[in-house]
């Protein structure tokens, strides 16, 4: 009977049952088998109101949504064009840099592809970049930059695994830069090969672009400085960021109207927050059951028999996470998989901070993996191109990212060097 229900539930989830419902149903089944009252579930969901860290999520999301309205994207693109324009393949570099910033602040939610894609794709194509190259670049950039503050996936990983969020952000700096950097090199290589026009660096244009974006350029710098210096926690930084963004958008640029635009943006960002956090609440209930039933221990026992070495474990983890990443969005993947994997990884001697960096890198790559990576869907509808075309266009980018994934996974020092310098 119970087995039939479990199979039914798995089928329903694969068919597209909302994940929070699936998680609640799974905890109900588990509690029922263990003869525990269902009231354990609301108690766990209520924990959402007891974690100061979680406040960072609605605040950063709101800031991200505020920034994606109005002219911020245009101003940032103009500025990075004036900086990188003269490099061969510079427009590609500029697109990657702008997208990484936007993805860091909005998470891999498709906002980057939707908000920046419409500006950057025509720009790339009009400057004679190969269309497949441009499509691939824009699709991949939807999940690039996830290691940088104030990335929501990192905050969630820290919350679920109990690792310091500030340390995770420090750890992600080099691996994240490696992922963006290798794609920038690819763009430069291609730009050289195609002999694209390279506008000369113009001090006048640089100055006027800088003046246009002078209020927005400091945002990532301030966020990074506050978090890395330990001056404020991720949550406090989020509160400061929202206040700053509100002030510049409403009073400095006068782009957003308090009574008309803000309520709309607020609703949109709360919808996004609700969608993620309700899964978090449900996942807390499910994790609680898993731990009570010693499930991670049981999986550990089973895996120990199959996988002997650390390398074998990491390899399996990579493949598994890419599969997860191409089926689930990054938030649910973290919420569902992290509680199961963390005890396993510590058994194999993997640092939880390194594990976090691997997780985010893997899941981000999963977004571009055919046949069902989320970026591919979003790009297909945003750019109105068939999926198969996007499979081909993203392939070189995907391969390069997989290469960096190998570095990130098998070279722990890349992630652990910077946090080891932290004293606090």
């Amino acid at each position: 009977m119970i087995l039939a229900l479990i199979i039914l539930l798995i089928l329903l989830v694969l068919l597209g049952l909302p994940l929070f419902v699936g998680l609640i149903a799974a905890s109900m089944l588990g509690l029922y088998v263990n003869r525990v009252e269902f009231s354990a579930i609301p108690i766990e969901i209520f924990r959402l109101a007891n974690a100061p860290v979680l406040l960072a999520i609605p605040l950063f999301t709101f800031a991200g949504y505020l920034l994606s309205e109005g002219g911020t994207a245009t101003r940032l693109i103009r500025f990075s064009k004036s900086v990188f324009g003269w490099v061969p393949g510079g427009l590609g570099v500029m697109a990657l840099a702008s997208c990484a910033f936007f993805t860091a602040i909005t998470g891999a939610t498709g906002v980057t592809i939707i908000a920046l894609g419409g500006l950057l794709l025509p720009a790339l194509i009009s400057e004679q970049y190969d269309e497949d190259f441009s499509l691939g670049l824009m699709t991949t950039s939807g999940s690039l930059g996830l290691h940088f503050p104030p990335s929501l996936p990192i905050i969630l990983y820290g919350f679920v695994s109990g690792v310091s969020i500030e340390r995770l952000f420090v750890a992600g700096l080099l691996p994240g830069s490696l992922m963006v950097g290798i794609l920038c090199l690819y763009s430069i290589y291609k730009g050289k090969k195609w002999g694209l026009a390279r506008p000369r660096f113009s001090a006048i244009e640089f100055y006027s672009a800088l003046k246009g974006a002078i209020w927005e350029i400091p945002i990532p710098i301030i966020i990074i400085a506050l978090i890395y210096s330990g001056l404020s926690t991720a949550t406090e930084t989020a509160a400061l960021t929202v206040a700053y963004v509100l002030i510049i958008k409403v009073f400095v640029f006068r782009e957003l109207n308090i009574t008309q635009d803000l309520p709309m943006i607020m609703k949109e960002s709360v919808k996004m927050v609700g969608g993620v956090m309700i899964i978090l609440g449900a996942a807390l209930g499910f994790t609680n059951y898993l731990v009570d039933a010693f499930i991670p221990m049981k999986i550990l026992k089973m895996m120990e028999g199959i996988i002997g070495s650390k390398i074998g474990f990491l390899l399996t983890l990579n493949v598994f996470l890419i599969l997860v990443g191409c089926m689930m969005d990054i938030f649910s993947a973290i919420l569902v998989v992290v509680p199961l994997i963390v005890p396993l990884a510590s058994r194999f001697g993997i640092d939880p901070i390194h594990l976090g960096v691997i997780f985010i890198a893997n899941l981000g790559i999963g977004y571009n993996t055919p046949p069902v990576g989320l970026n591919l869907f979003i790009a297909s509808s945003r750019f109105d191109r068939p999926m198969v075309r996007l499979y081909r266009a993203t392939l070189p980018f995907l391969l390069l990212l997989l290469l960096t994934l190998l570095f990130i996974t098998y070279w722990p020092a890349l992630s652990l060097f910077l946090p080891s310098l932290l004293t606090h």
């Binding site: 329903l12 419902v21 609640i24 996004m272």
Partner: protein, 170 residues
């Protein structure tokens, strides 16, 4: 009709709560900064007066979560594994939708009942939260949220059922 009116009310609450969250979270950081880095004594006493705002802001996270989740239920935009929506033939899509929304109604109504009894227990034995409010007031969002969500899933189920019934007639 009820659905649109509800959505409007939820929208108002979202705007109100998010403003409260932004303003109080910012004020807390500001006062703490003024006290630790500027050593202003008044900032510290003001923080003492506002000690209720910290648990309130944390509670707002939960309330906003449920309000947002309820709104996306109405728009059918919950996060899910989306393997079959593109591959399944049109005829089966509607059946799939019906089965899924029915399952959602069942699960969320059980949660509604569970959270009501949770609140009842809390009314008897729970303590107080900020500003002397009883703690069950803050937890009210659980039954309210699940009521809203299961109501929306029910509407969807009925809609899908009607569509299938009409399809059969034609």
């Amino acid at each position: 009709m009820i659905d649109t009116a509800l959505a409007r009310l939820e929208g108002w609450l979202i705007v109100l709560f998010l403003w409260l969250m932004v303003i109080f979270a910012f004020m807390q950081v500001l006062l703490r900064g003024l006290y630790t880095h500027g050593h202003f004594q008044w900032a510290n006493s003001l923080m003492g007066l506002m000690d209720w705002s910290e648990p309130m802001v944390r509670l707002l996270v939960l309330w906003l979560t449920f309000l947002g989740a309820s709104l996306i239920t109405g728009e059918n935009k919950h996060i899910k594994i989306d393997l079959f929506s593109t591959f399944l033939p049109q005829k089966w899509q509607i059946v799939r939708e019906l089965v899924l929304s029915l399952a959602c109604v069942i699960v969320t109504s059980i949660m509604l009942r569970v959270s009501i009894s949770y609140i009842q227990l809390e009314m008897e034995f729970g303590g107080n939260t900020f500003l002397g409010l009883p703690s069950w007031i803050g937890q009210l969002i659980l039954p309210i949220g699940f009521a809203l969500i299961s109501f929306r899933f029910l509407l969807r189920t009925i809609e899908n059922g009607l569509q299938i019934a009409r399809g059969r007639e034609v």
